[in-house]
Each structure stands twice: as C-alpha cells, then as structure tokens.
C-alpha cells in the first residue's frame, strides 16, 4: 500500500501541474493581446494622468527615452513592467523606474533597449535622479532640466528657446548630434560634468561650482570665446 507521504507528494505534484496549466492559460491571454505587427511590440502602453513636469528616479540599467510627440504616451518594456511605479502630484508625473545599476563608463553607446519611452507634447521640466536618459527631438520654447545623483543624460536633435540645466551630485549630461538653444543657462555643482560639443547657442551662461567640469572641444571653445 502506498504510504501517506507518497500520496501527499503525488497530490502536490498534480496540484502544481494543474496550477501551471492555469497560469499558462492566463499567459496565453496576455500573448493574444500583443500586436505582433507593431514595431514597439516589446513595449506595453501604460495609463497615466496629464503632466507638464516629469520627475524620474530609479536606476540606470535601462535607458529612458524622452521625445516629442503630438500625443502623450508612456511605453514600458514588457520585461520591466514590474519595475515601474508612478503617481501624479498636480501637473507632475512622478516615476520610479528601478533595476540594476550599471557603471557610468558603460552607459554611452549602450545596446540595451530603452526600458521606458515617454512621449509628450507639453513638457516644461524634467527632474532626473540616478537614471540614464535620452532626450531627443524636442522642439519647444523652454525646457528646464534638473539632474541629480548619478543621472546620465544624452540630448540629441533638440531645438529649444531657453534651456536651463541644473546638474548636481555625480550627474552628467552630453549634447549629441545637433542641439540648438537660443539661451542656455547651465549650472553645474558638486562633481557633475557637462559635455557641450553638440550644442549651438546664441547665448551661453555657465555657472560652475565645486568640482564640476565642463568639457569642450577646440571648436566649441573657440565658438564660446568668440561670443
């Protein structure tokens, strides 16, 4: 006769396999909702309230793309959904996007896909802490960018009237490709670093404190001296 422990073990195994069928049925339903013809099929669209200010904190394992679009949208990489938390306070959308930390030296030219893609047509300020951010294609009158912690931000192909950047802690920012700002007000504190090569401007007002660094190529330096 079969011992009670062996019967219990068999019942447990059967229960586990049955629940596996249940879970896989739920997964099949999620799968059937994915539009495989969509270019961004690896991402899921999230619901949120309207915002003008974005406040993002978390980690730098997955880059965060911020771009201009006619309609606001937030997409998160399906594998990172459980790492995304958000809430709204007034016109500020507060996001925490957690994950692994990556060494600063590994961030430029990373091949890791964006963990978050945020599109907005009405963004006035960004407050970014410890995250890896890629801001591109913004065409607007003004933008305020506050960087803290170990935030690393790449800006490319933006056209801005007034750009205000406040970097502190160990944060850094880098202009890539062609960025244009009528007036650029740059305040760098603590150990922050700013790479200004890809920025064209009519007026540049840098304020550099503590051990902060501004990095300029020869051409960028000549342009700054000329103005």
């Amino acid at each position: 006769m079969m011992k009670a422990s062996n019967i219990a073990l068999s019942v447990l195994i059967i229960a586990l396999l049955t629940s596996m069928v249940g879970v896989n049925t739920a997964l099949e339903k999620v799968y059937s909702e994915i539009d495989l013809t969509d270019k961004l099929r690896s991402y899921t669209v999230l619901e949120f309230s309207e915002f003008k200010v974005l406040k993002i904190s978390g980690s730098n394992g997955y880059p965060i793309d911020i771009k201009q679009s006619e309609s606001a949208e937030i997409r998160v990489l399906r594998s990172r959904v459980s790492h995304f938390e958000h809430r709204t306070s007034g016109d500020t959308l507060i996001i925490h996007f957690s994950g692994a930390r990556v060494s600063h030296s590994a961030l430029p030219n990373t091949t890791t896909p964006a963990g978050l893609i945020i599109s907005s047509d009405n963004l006035s300020a960004l407050i970014l802490t410890n995250t890896h951010n890629r801001i591109s294609g913004l065409d607007q009158a003004a933008l305020s960018l506050t960087l803290a912690g170990e935030a690393y931000t790449e800006l490319s192909d933006n056209r801005l009237g007034m750009l205000r950047v406040q970097a502190s802690g160990g944060s850094s920012f880098e202009f890539r490709n062609e960025n244009m700002a009528d007036t650029a007000l740059l305040t760098l504190k603590h150990k922050s670093v700013g790479f200004l090569d890809g920025l064209s401007y009519h007026e540049l007002q840098p304020v550099i404190e503590d051990s902060a660094l501004v990095v300029l190529s020869k051409n960028a330096l000549n342009e700054f001296v000329k103005k």
Binding site: S5, A8, L16, V81, V102
Partner: protein
Amino acid sequence: MSWTSVQLLVDRQFKEHARLYYISLLLLAGLLSFMFLLIHNWRDSFSGAVENGVFLIGLFLSGGLFTNSMFKEFSNKPEGIWLLNIPAGSFEKLLSAVLLSAVAFLAVYLGVFFLIDGLYLSFSDQERGVFEIFQNGFHEFIYLYLIFNGLILLGRVTFIKHSFLKTMVLIIAGVILLNLFNNAMLEYMIPDLNVTSSMPFNSFQFRHLGENIHVLLPSSARASFMPVLWVLLPVALWGITWLKIKEKEI
C-alpha cells in the same frame, strides 16, 4: 503539540552542535568577505547588482548545508533509533528543525550579510548604498529559500546516505524538467510560438522577427497567485517531511 518539547529539541540541537555552528558562522562570514573581495577585484568586469548574486550564493549554499545538518542522525542507524525514541512527537521534531534551519538561519544570515556588506561599503568607494532586500521584489528569493528548505529537509529524511547530493541532483533535474515541460505546454497551447525562456508560474519570453518579447502574468493575477504559492508550497513540503518522519522505520 508542546512548545516545551520544541524548545528542548532546539536546545539539544544547538548544544550538541554549538562548536560546529560557531565555526560555520565564521566560515560564512569568511565566504561572504571572499566573494565581496572577488567582485571588488573584478568590479570593472561585472555590471549590475553583483551583491545580489553574492547574497543568493551565500544564502542557498550555506542554507542548504545547514538545513541538511538537521536530522543527520537518520544517516546512522543507532543514532536514528535514538532520535526516533526521543520523547517528542514527529511534528515537534519537524517544527524544531524548521525553526532552526528556516527562521533562525535566515535571521543569522541576514545579520551576517548586512554586517559584511556594511564593512565592504565602508572600506571601498562604492557608488551604491546599503543592500536593499526589498528593491525590485528581490525579497521573493526569501520565499524561494523556504521552498528550498522544505525540499532539503524532505531529502534529508528520505535518503539515508548522501542525502544532500541526491536531493540537489533531484532539485536540478526537477527544475530542468519543469522548465522543459512548461515550454512544451506553452508551445502546445500557442501555435507557432518559439519560446526562448520561461519561468514557470510567472512569465515566458518568445522570439519574433529576431526580437525577444517578454510575456508576464498580469500584476493582479500575480498578486493573488504568487503569495499562495510562496506560502502553500513550503508548508506542503514541511507537511510531507512530517509524514516521512512519522513513517520512519529503521
């Protein structure tokens, strides 16, 4: 059930092996320090939260060995008879083993890990702060440890000789088989699906036009299902271990 019996059994286990436990504690601290030194030396080669890996290796390695030291009398006939004849019920014997190998071990392990991690942080120039166990759901590995604890205890009372090795082989084989079965089931349920990886009871990833796409259980379903699994599975394994002790014949 008598709590006095459980307390006496815990006291007996601790007093009989006190010297071994103190040495093991030093060994654990040494092992964790060594792993932190390793990741520090090769810090440019590792990216991400490597301290999480250190935590898991330490937890499952030391926890597995310590759990396997429970009921070790069963691997020796005279000692096994003596253990069975101790005037306490099977449930009390099991409970004392669970209290020591799951509850007390976790408390000691967490204390030692945070101490070594704190010392490492104070002597190195790390960008990160103190190890955060509740970040990104990492604490779920604690529940996984409880399941692992149940499996090791069950193996301990099932196999007379080389129980740890046999149990580990079965756990590894079980995990591989479960994964293969889960992948096969998903590919059967969803036609033309090319599953590249899956985590049973949680998610899977498939390949489409050269791209890996992740499918995760909806958060509401996960929130209601996972706690049941985390609680019921270790309890069921401890229950079966209890039945095995009751049925024990030497």
